[in-house]
């Protein structure tokens, strides 16, 4: 029996990925990190890469991943000039760069101020380092396969730490760059964000390759398996934007795990444009009453791309406010998946939760699987959900054409309008402009 399990490709492939990490050195010689790695690796014994037989992966087929023989990432030396297309002027002096999972201090521009840290684990000052183990790998649900794989492969951690009552005015840009070469490489970035009580910050988490997002043929595959753990403590506020623009042949599996304490506020805008196959797991756990959560998502994919968003929010306390809008624009044979789970326990009375999944199909072969999943036990709550799947309406196009706009321009304006409801919520002008251009370039209608 045991041998049979071992023979399954999903099991041996996971072990193969686990072994990659053994060749890499842990940046801070840190026994705590080694313990975390060992524990996670033990948990993964006999575990397997999920197949479509599992409910959570029903619509997302990972068999393509198993076809690729990934090697451990071999970070490339980049110059500031190389990465200039990916930088943001608003964050010129607050940028943290990781290349193929490895911290790149010469590309980073953060300066340390009292009570605030932005950097890697290796440089974490003593004032924080005695406490980081309370946070790292302490989120709910970390036994999930890809999270555990990331933990078992930990070499370093990107850390943003905002001390009590500190307000960071400039946006922090956390840039994870992948450099694809002829050999398929795998990197596993890890980030930890702690906003202590009463603090606030704006965070841009950005996954990108150096290659332009257009052109599908010339790229090589790489695999990013990333985990970001976020702690929003009492009355703190984080405005978080997550942009995924990986290369067209890339695999991107990412998890954002958030813990929200009493009266904290958390906003997340996710923009997913890249990768051949991407999966974003978003897990939010409410640990105190009166929290406010806003989740805006935009997925824009085409050709053979697949983008999967699985969010799960757990309300355990009263007076939570939750608003989620997820939009997908799908062209060609692209496939989108959205699963939005919201669990409101008996204790979470007076929760006000709204969820909306809106999907625009630009081609008859594009496909979306969308599923709201509300599990409500409390009886005094307001919860709503809705899902729409539509194409561009003839009447809408006619309305614009009757004002003199040609068919192509009319379609373009309508797609742009659909996307802009999310894009206009982005906190940075530069990011809004870059992504609007990206939407324009991707929806160029032939």
């Amino acid at each position: 029996m045991v041998t049979q399990v071992q023979d399954k490709p999903e099991v041996s492939y996971l072990q193969q990925l686990l072994n990659l990490a053994k060749t890499q050195t842990i940046v801070p010689q840190n026994s705590h990190l080694q313990d975390l790695r060992d524990r996670a690796a033990t948990e993964l014994q006999d575990k397997a890469i999920p197949t479509q037989k599992e409910e959570d992966w029903r619509f997302t087929d990972l068999s393509g991943l198993l076809q690729v023989n990934f090697q451990a990432a071999k970070p490339v030396q980049l110059t500031k000039e190389d990465i200039s297309p990916l930088t943001l002027p608003e964050a010129e002096n607050s940028r943290l760069v990781f290349v193929d999972g490895e911290y790149a201090p010469h590309l980073s521009t953060v300066s340390q101020t009292d009570g605030i840290f932005a950097g890697n684990l290796g440089n974490l000052p003593a004032s924080f380092s005695d406490r980081y183990d309370h946070y790292l790998d302490k989120q709910q649900g970390n036994s999930e396969i890809f999270t555990a794989l990331n933990t078992a492969s930990l070499t370093d951690v990107a850390i943003i730490w905002v001390g009590k009552n500190k307000a960071v005015e400039t946006p922090l840009h956390l840039l994870f760059i992948s450099t694809a070469d002829d050999t398929p490489r795998m990197s596993q970035p890890r980030a930890l964000v702690v906003a202590e009580a009463g603090s606030s910050c704006t965070l841009i988490e950005h996954y990108a390759s150096l290659e332009d997002c257009s052109g599908f043929s010339t790229h090589h595959p790489y695999f990013v398996n990333t985990v970001t753990e976020i702690w929003v403590e009492e009355n703190a506020e984080i405005k978080h934007t997550r942009v995924q623009r990986d290369a067209p042949q890339a695999f991107h599996i990412g998890r954002t795990a958030i813990s929200q304490a009493r009266t904290s506020r958390y906003t997340l805008n996710t923009i997913s444009l890249g990768a051949k196959l991407s999966r974003h797991n978003l897990d939010l756990n409410q640990t105190g009453e009166g929290t406010e959560t806003t989740l805006n998502g935009l997925t824009l994919i085409r050709e053979e791309q697949l983008a999967d968003t699985h969010s799960a929010t757990f309300f355990n306390h009263q007076h939570g406010i939750y608003n989620q809008v997820h939009k997908c624009i799908l062209d060609d044979r692209a496939r989108g998946v959205f699963n939005g789970r919201v669990v409101v326990s008996q204790a979470a009375q007076l929760t006000n939760a709204n969820q909306l999944s809106q999907n625009l199909l630009l081609s008859s072969q594009a496909r979306i699987n969308t599923k709201p999943q509300l599990e409500i036990v409390a009886d005094d709550v307001k919860c709503s959900h809705g899902a729409t799947v539509s194409q561009l309406e003839d009447d809408e196009i006619f309305y614009l054409r009757s004002r003199g706009l040609d068919d192509r321009m009319s379609r373009h304006l309508l797609i742009d309008a659909f996307a802009s409801e999310i894009l206009q919520k982005l906190p940075l002008d530069s990011l809004r402009q870059i992504l609007s251009r990206c939407v324009a370039c991707r929806t160029e209608l032939s």
Binding site: F398, Y399, S402, R403, M409, A417
Partner: protein
Amino acid sequence: MIRENSEVILSVRDLTANVDGTQILKGLNLEIKAGEIHAVMGQNGSGKSTFSKVLAGHPAYEVTGGEVTFLGQNLLELEPNERAIAGIFLAFQYPLEIPGLTNLDFLRAAYNARLKSQGKEEIDAFDFDDLIRDKLDVVKMKPEFLERSVNEGFSGGEKKRNEILQMALLEPKLAILDETDSGLDIDALRIVAGGVNQLANADNSMLVITHYQRLLDYIVPDFVHVMQAGQIIKTGSKELALELEEKGYDEVIEAAKVGV
């Protein structure tokens, strides 16, 4: 205003058209000259709205026969956007909502499309801002309307005013107002009609499609046409509208049939 020798803007001869395979227009004739205001009245299902959509080029309406000439060219050969640029404007009965597209961007895109087709340079955001602010006065709209998404969350009256604002900007040769008065309270009706009257001049023309005589107290037509079963069965002066109001459609239609 009726004048001798003014230019023929629209000429419709024996127009027939189908929707989903059902014939709605059954041989419609109409001629509109510059400076004229024409009203087309009729009951529900008489084909009024179909006529307006056929003129604007809605793809769901199939022309099966007849001719439509607009400023000397065959209108039926033109795409909807080409018709708009040639000078046709349809004020929709139910203007569409476009969340995410601001009114300002929409208006500027439409204005630039016309400039482009005329081989002119596009207008920049600042110059356009000045231009559109003047037009806002025509329909007494506040500048805040420009920042909102097209028609999203607008009241019925605001939507109709927004249609007239577009008309003011695009300066058509033939404006077709499809039930622009439906659902408007008297204040909104006055604003909308006032806007239309400001825009009417000796070089353009209006085709006012309506169910109710009330609108024609504010937009005074030179001709009133009664439409029934896809044809114009009777044409008269503005008094015909009053007669319809007084006697009802059935009596006027019966009288027309027996040739009274």
